[in-house]
């Protein structure tokens, strides 16, 4: 597989990572080599094999519906880039 440069840029944008043209080209070369490795998977027939999403075939444990957390926003917001009136501030969201 050869990943075209516009695909590299599309993925980078989907992942919200800014890339310059030069970076995109460097990444493209790396990704193409990595995907050549990954595509070794195609050598094996996996039809009829159940995908394995977890390390063990177990089921999830559930929690009782209880409130056990209190207000910690001051401690949490001490490490926030920008806050005001208890809110996290971000550049204006345009709908």
């Amino acid at each position: 597989m050869s990943l075209p440069i516009d695909q590299v840029k599309r993925i980078a944008h989907l992942a919200r990572i800014a890339v310059t043209d030069a970076e995109a080209e460097a990444v493209q070369a790396d990704l193409n080599r990595i995907f050549a490795l990954i595509e070794e998977m195609n050598a094996v027939d996996t039809s009829g094999i159940e995908p394995m999403a977890h390390a063990r075939d177990l089921t999830v444990r559930l929690r009782a519906d209880e409130v056990r957390e209190g207000d910690q926003h001051e401690a949490f917001q001490a490490v926030a880039p920008q806050v005001e009136a208890g809110l996290y501030l971000v550049p204006k969201v345009i709908e």
């Binding site: 990704l31 998977m41 401690a75 880039p81």
Partner: protein, 494 residues
């Protein structure tokens, strides 16, 4: 003191021959003197450490000491610790001081251990050499121009250079075993679900597992007794009765005798692990170690793990896929790095993440984003998950014939710093022997078993069936009673 076992240290502390404060000061002094050349630690905070040491001394004096009370432990900087910078080796979290403790940290704190500092690592645990850290590469004490292995290189080196008696790490594709092997210490990755992942910054959730580093298997058992156990805050944490991981250290296997402590043990050696990619110096050290196991009474048989070759390709789909999603939370909104200049919200995201993450992390995010994206999911992600099952089945089949699998941890001894940085595929292939245990969720460990070219350490890989940590530790302990590879100290660090 720096070569004492945990048992000896605990005895010395109990007998008041040494105090926790003295022990901690001794470690801090060594770090101050020796770590400049190694870069094993990202953060040390003597004030905080000594405060904990004083509390430990009070606890010892009051007669409430446990086996780890007063013992300094170095935590991989992937474990968040309240009040400590918890950076994960990334610029993204360089200024992040955690408001809470990871479960593992909490366990050590409850046991009275002292947090000695936070160790260096590949950024977000993505790497096999501890070179991708925002805080610079970790160096190998056996040869400072060589890599320490990764991603938990700082923890491995802290133990190898006797900067800390013990340390914690995490293993997603070999990140405990690989640096343990390359730095000449012991490291154990338990069965998935044994150690809570709560507060362990996620790389690939279905593969990540915390574990200990120490200089001996006996010390690993003491550490695992503290680290392991059910935690309701991690829904993949296993609800099992607590066990004593030291219980099989001295207990001979059924069929064992005094002269043959491993009598009755069936050691499986996968032929696939001794193929073209394995360097001859590593192969011969590992083969000698397997001969040693035989001398101790084990029988050795050949087993097959036919899908071994597919473990790297499938891992480099699954781990980046999970990582691409796990790392989406680093967006510059609630904590961590935010780009200083941007045009709008999307630009803020893109610049924050471009500047906050290093090249390898970005590479893996891009791989993961791509394999999950529309039209590629089945061909990559689902395919990799199916291969994951084939790999897990290989082990199920092998464990019908043997009790433990033995082989190499890494294809070569520690390589030169910078040698593989520009070639990600070569870097990824370092993990060829370790990844499968993560994909299958099996316990596995690395113990020193000799030296290869240029006097660099070689690790012996032991992989067990689910929940056989105690047996793995017993085998390793018997090996270490018969050999002294684990007791060797790199020159200049004795």
């Amino acid at each position: 003191m720096i070569n004492a076992s945990l048992k000896e240290l605990a005895d010395a502390l109990a007998a008041r021959r040494v105090s926790a404060v003295e022990l901690t000061e001794h470690c801090i002094e060594r770090i101050g003197r020796l770590d400049k050349g190694l870069n094993a630690f990202i953060t040390v905070d003597p004030g905080r450490s000594l405060e904990q040491a004083r509390a430990a001394d009070a606890r010892i004096a009051a007669g409430h000491a446990g086996p780890l009370t007063g013992i300094p432990v170095a935590h991989k900087d992937i474990f968040v610790a309240k009040g400590w910078p918890s950076t994960c080796g990334s610029r993204m979290l360089a200024s992040f001081v955690s408001p809470y403790d990871a479960h593992v940290v909490e366990r050590f704190n409850d046991a009275g251990a002292v947090v000695l500092g936070k160790t260096n690592m590949d950024e977000f645990a993505m790497g096999s050499s501890s070179e991708t850290s925002w805080f610079g590469p970790v160096r190998n004490p056996w040869n400072v121009d060589r890599v320490a292995g990764g991603s938990s290189g700082g923890s491995a080196v802290a133990v190898a250079a006797r900067l800390a008696p013990v340390a914690t790490g995490t293993d997603t594709g070999g990140s405990i075993r690989q640096p343990a092997a390359l730095s000449g210490v012991c490291g154990l990755k338990p069965t998935y679900g044994t150690v809570s992942r709560y507060g362990m910054i996620a790389f690939a959730s279905s593969l990540d597992q915390g574990g200990p580093f120490a200089r001996s298997a006996a010390d690993l058992a003491v550490l695992l007794n503290v680290m392991a156990g059910f935690d309701a805050r991690d829904s993949t944490s296993l609800e099992r009765a607590p066990e004593d991981y030291a219980r099989e250290l001295e207990r001979p296997l059924p069929g064992a005798s005094a002269g043959k402590p491993l009598g009755g043990l069936r050691v499986g050696v996968p032929s696939e692990y001794f193929s073209a990619g394995l360097a001859s110096d590593v192969a011969s050290a590992v083969e000698s170690a397997i001969d040693e196991l035989k001398k101790l009474g084990a029988s050795v048989i050949e087993v097959h793990l036919p899908n071994t070759g597919l473990s790297v390709p499938s891992y480099y789909v699954i781990a980046p896929a999970e990582a691409s999603s796990n790392l989406s939370r680093y967006d510059g909104v609630r904590y961590g790095y935010r780009a200083p200049e941007y045009d709008d919200l999307v630009d803020m995201y893109c610049k924050t993440r471009a500047q906050g993450f290093g090249a390898e992390v970005k590479r893996r995010i891009l791989i993961g984003t791509y394999v999950l994206s529309h039209g590629y999911y089945d061909a990559y992600y689902l395919k990799a998950q199916k291969i994951r099952r084939l790999i897990a089945r290989d082990f199920t089949d092998a464990f019908r014939q043997c009790d433990v699998i033995a082989g190499p941890v890494t294809p070569t001894v520690a390589f030169a710093l910078g040698a593989k940085v520009s070639d990600p595929v070569q870097m990824y292939l370092n993990d060829i022997y370790t990844i499968a245990a993560n994909l299958a969720g099996l316990p596995a460990m690395s113990i020193p078993c000799g030296f290869g070219s240029e006097g660099l350490p070689v690790g012996l890989h032991l992989v067990g069936d689910y929940f056989t940590e105690a047996r793995l530790l017993g085998i390793a302990h018997q090996f270490q009673k018969a050999t002294d590879w684990h007791a060797r100290v790199p020159a200049g660090y004795a």
